[in-house]
């Protein structure tokens, strides 16, 4: 955070505090001994030891059937399933809030805007089913009117009812768009959804990046420029960072057991993954699950270590020591890898968590008195070759009051963006929005950013990404339990990996694995 501040990255006081925490806190540095000398000076070593011992004594000891680490959608779902089966559960959450990468932020008048996972769509029956069970209604994402396409300083509008869907029908890219999307869809059908590394061409596909493949299979420079505009919001990454095999798996995962995944279902709003929103925001689902868990979620309790014991596991956090027969680790791989395991995890699992970073994605939100873009017949969806905002959506409440636009800033744009001053960032975003929707966009009543890469307990978003070589070498470690430790989180899902639906699926699957054993 200090470094961020130096670069002008200031926390938003209205925002959830954990997003403003430094990646490594001063306390952790102290504990790690990085400033051991200074510590020793401030506090004599015996006294420090005694203080440590006192602290240890104060830890609350609990014994449960299952300890769940992470109160995101996956962890909460797992805990809910286990509790419904009358298992004793305790959920340890590092943040001061629940929800993980699902988060609402207030925008005034009791309304909220989703700062994290937002949408659901056809074939995402697990998140939709869960919402229905909890009484959280859905409503269609506002999609009446034209989409905006902005390229090289020119704005054009188009309807997403055309053959390209949400992708812009730019004549200069159409041949490549049609060919590439068709080929990717066809290739994705050859990817086993449950084991992409077993695909016949896995070795070939996991030896190249998406960018390499696009360069070999497209001719139009503008099309090649459009591809990052798609990968930044979808993965928070550039095409050069993504394994082709991982990309194909992601497309294959954009479906369910009855409907093959397609790029269109992933990317589109109409009949696609952005088709629905949740009334009062997606975080409402997490709130309701947590309410049903009846105090079993412990906030501000990061799990520091997991020890395997004769009876199962012993999970140590600053405030709690939990003994359980099974543990479900429901945090992103990069965070799961930061937990100390004793004995250590198998090499493949360790390597997998080490090599799967989160994408770099920020969400920027501008609130207006009303959704003025609708007057112009625009639906708030924009695809742009110009950054920092490459994609926007209308995030207004169902009644359109207030009007809310949010945009994704990802990949290289996200990294650049994070290095700018707050004023420069806001100006750049509003300039983008004005280019897409008119100058009225320059005057929001409220503006805020959600910096997921800067969030200590997320380290990025929306999903862990795989560079070439990772899936082939360590893919099987994604879900394979290690003794009594089971893995959940959207990255472990087969279908809708990276989405809320995938998180729910993974939570259910991990709970079942555990219930088999208890």
């Amino acid at each position: 955070m200090l470094a961020n501040r130096r670069r002008g990255h200031r926390p938003d006081d209205n925002f959830a505090p954990e997003l403003n925490e430094p990646i490594v806190s001063r306390r952790e540095l102290l504990e790690a001994g990085a400033v051991a000398g200074a510590g020793a000076l401030a506090l004599g070593a015996p006294e420090a030891e005694a203080a440590k011992r006192r602290k240890r004594r104060r830890r609350i000891r609990r014994r449960v059937d299952v300890v769940v680490i992470g109160a995101g959608l996956a962890g909460l779902t797992a805990a809910r399933e286990l509790m419904r089966d009358d298992r004793s559960v305790l959920v340890l959450e590092a943040r001061p809030r629940i929800g993980g990468r699902v988060l609402n932020r207030p925008i005034g008048d009791g309304e909220e805007s989703e700062a994290g996972g937002t949408f659901a769509g056809p074939t995402q029956n697990h998140i939709l089913g869960l919402a229905a069970e909890l009484g959280v209604d859905t409503f269609p994402t506002f999609n009446e009117g034209e989409n905006v396409y902005f390229a090289d300083g020119e704005r054009t509008t188009y309807s997403d009812t055309g053959p390209t869907g949400t992708a812009p029908p730019d004549p200069s890219i159409l041949p490549d768009l049609a060919t590439v999307v068709t080929r990717l869809n066809e290739m994705s059908k050859e990817v086993p959804i449950d084991a992409p590394w077993e695909a016949a061409s896995a070795r070939d596909w996991d030896s190249q990046t998406l960018e390499q493949w696009i360069n070999e299979n497209s001719a139009s420079p503008r099309f090649r420029a459009l591809v990052p505009a798609a990968t930044r919001p979808i993965f928070g990454a550039e095409p050069r960072e993504l394994s082709l095999l991982f990309t194909l798996f992601y497309i294959a995962a954009s479906g369910d057991e009855r409907n093959a995944g397609t790029f269109e279902r992933n990317f589109n709003t109409r009949d696609g993954a952005q088709m629905f929103r949740f009334l009062h925001g997606s975080h409402e689902i997490c709130r309701r699950i947590a309410a049903g868990l009846d105090g079993r979620v412990k906030l501000r309790t990061p799990a520091r270590g997991i020890e395997l014991t004769r009876g199962g596991v012993r999970v140590v956090s600053k405030r709690y020591v939990v003994r359980a027969r099974r543990a479900i680790v429901a945090v992103p791989p990069v965070l799961a890898g930061a937990i100390r395991y004793s004995p250590g995890l198998p090499a493949s699992r360790s390597e997998f968590t080490r090599a799967m970073p989160q994408g770099t994605l920020l969400k920027v939100t501008a609130v207006y008195d009303r959704p003025f873009w609708r007057d112009e017949g625009l639906n708030g969806t924009a695809v742009s070759l110009n950054g920092p905002v490459n994609a926007t959506f209308d995030d207004s409440p169902p009644d359109g009051s207030p009007g809310v636009l949010f945009g994704f800033v990802g990949g290289d744009e996200g990294r650049r963006f994070r290095g700018q001053s707050e004023a420069d960032r806001q100006a750049a975003v509003l300039r983008n929005l004005a280019d897409y929707f008119g100058d009225e966009a320059l005057r929001p009543s409220r503006y805020f950013e959600t910096d997921w890469p800067g969030a200590k307990w997320s380290r990025g978003g929306p999903v862990g990404i795989a560079a070439p070589g990772l899936l082939l070498a360590h893919g099987p470690a994604i879900r394979q339990p290690v003794g009594p430790i089971h893995w959940a989180g959207t990255e472990t899902s087969n279908y809708w990996n990276g989405y809320m639906d995938g998180a729910v699926r993974s939570g259910k699957r991990a709970a079942r694995e555990v219930m088999d054993e208890l």
Binding site: D194, A200, E257, A260, Y495, R509, E517, L518
Partner: protein
């Protein structure tokens, strides 16, 4: 998986299989797409495990591929849960795997094409173990049928394709190409020829199904064709019955049913009523229903050919059927390689299947004892805990009913799985009306319909004022 956990899961699964209200309203032969099977595809069989989940192996791709076979695990709604890749296959030859049955420890029994072997898959650890191997038999001399040779016209490789447990723990395994039924001794080891018969020579379309009848001493054997000329009408399939004699030797093979030409009956299932549901993987693309005496009752769909069943996926080489409650789970192999049709289909038939014999898996009803309520009289809004002791892992159904003028009326119900020993479950009396209630607890093995039930009385009193 530990056995207690397995049994508990089995009970839950069976209960769930019986319970869904939606299924109760489904019309006979209402067919739904359960799940498409991802690459490498070609599901030849879907096994319904006592834990209630469905396991499908990916089988031989007639067009050839170099993909290792996998076993996919689905829940009853068709959600893909996990998968395992089969080790040690010879990818240069035809390769594929079928999940054929499971053992008392819950491990899946897999039949592998190349090498020809049976594997045990522990789904908890993902570990595989070889259970048996099937020998490549030389052809028997003409008109001879011995178990140490293959009574077929041509020399063919072994191809184990269906397996069923005998009462003594032997595993009987059919061979698609070699005209024999194998017997694997209890505990595993090399398979020995048990039954050899010229009528099991179907050329390229041989033995295609094996099941143990309700008497647990008769094996039913499906034959895709008699192309080896061991029986009349070589293009029609048959179902035979053979007794397992008390000394373990086979009795006389007798024909129960003969299909129409080119029907290719495959992977049939037996209902509790004794009726047989026989997928026809040939040109018919139907499911034939046979009476216990072998007479054909009906076919679904009624017209052969296109396999239209009302679901988005027609029957396309339907290769096996297994009961899940009153539903048949049909594996659609799509031999021609239509990836969109390689799927598991869910066909409501309105009757339950014959429980599978798995030696060692305790099929007796669990004993339910020491059932106590934490309170016999309770005010609304309080919790009542039910304590009990159950002899083995079981699915426990709790039902609270209120006495009304018209009899007992359900107030609340829920199910829980519990391991052997003491256990408890609680419910709240919030919203309950005052009066006499009863709490019934049922420890259930719904797959066998054996259950123990205990009822206790509960009186809900008037709410305290203030």
């Amino acid at each position: 998986m530990r056995r207690p956990a397995l049994i508990a899961l089995a009970l839950l699964a069976s209960l769930l299989a019986m319970a869904p209200a939606a299924d109760a309203q489904r019309a006979r032969f209402d067919t739904r797409l359960l799940a498409k099977v991802p690459a490498p595809g070609f599901p030849a069989m879907a096994y319904v495990h006592p834990n209630g989940r469905i396991y499908a192996g990916t089988y031989v791709n007639p067009g050839g591929d170099s993909l290792r076979s996998r076993v996919l695990e689905y829940d009853q709604d068709g959600t893909l849960l996990r998968s395992w890749t089969v080790p040690g296959q010879d990818l240069s030859k035809d390769h594929g795997v079928q999940a054929a049955t499971s053992d008392a420890q819950g491990r899946l029994v897999l039949l592998d094409r190349t090498p020809s072997r049976a594997l045990l898959l522990d789904t908890d650890t993902g570990s595989f173990r070889e259970y048996s191997t099937f020998a490549n038999l030389a052809p028997c001399p003409p008109l001879e049928a011995r178990t140490d040779c293959s009574p077929t016209l041509e020399d063919r490789d072994p191809m184990a394709n269906y397996a069923v447990w005998g009462p003594d723990g032997s595993l009987y395994v059919s061979d698609f190409l070699q005209g024999v039924v194998w017997r694997v001794p209890p505990g595993g080891g090399a398979a020995l020829g048990w039954l050899a018969d010229r009528r099991l020579d179907g050329g390229e379309f041989g033995t295609t199904g094996l099941a143990l009848a309700a008497d647990q001493r008769t094996l039913l054997i499906a034959q895709g064709s008699s192309a080896g000329l061991g029986a009349l009408n070589p293009s029609s399939g048959k179902i035979y019955a053979v007794e397992i004699r008390p000394d373990g030797s086979p009795g006389e093979l007798r024909q129960l049913w003969e299909s129409r030409p080119a029907d290719l009956p495959d992977g049939f299932a037996i209902a509790r009523s004794g009726r047989l549901y026989v997928p026809l993987a040939g040109a018919a693309n139907q499911i034939a229903v046979l009476a216990p005496d072998g007479s054909e009752l009906e076919r679904f769909p009624s017209s052969p050919g296109d396999g239209g069943n009302g679901s988005p996926v027609p029957f396309d080489t339907p290769s096996s059927a297994r009961f899940l409650g009153t539903r048949l789970i049909v594996a659609n192999q799509s031999f021609t390689g239509n990836r969109d049709n390689q799927a598991l289909l869910d066909v409501e038939v309105g009757e339950a299947g014959l429980p599978e014999l798995i030696p060692g898996l305790d099929r007796e009803a669990p004993a339910l004892t020491r059932v106590r309520l934490s309170r016999k009289r309770v005010r609304p809004g309080r919790r009542v805990r039910v304590r009990f002791r159950v002899s083995e892992p079981a699915t426990l159904s709790f039902r609270v009913e209120r006495r009304t003028r018209r009899g007992w009326r359900e107030t609340t119900s829920f199910t829980r799985r519990r391991g052997a020993g003491r256990g408890s479950a609680a419910f709240t009396t919030r919203g309950m009306r005052r009066g006499r209630h009863r709490v019934s607890v049922r420890a259930e093995d719904a797959g066998n319909n054996r259950s123990a039930r205990v009822t206790r009385r509960l009186r809900v009193m008037r709410r305290l004022r203030g």
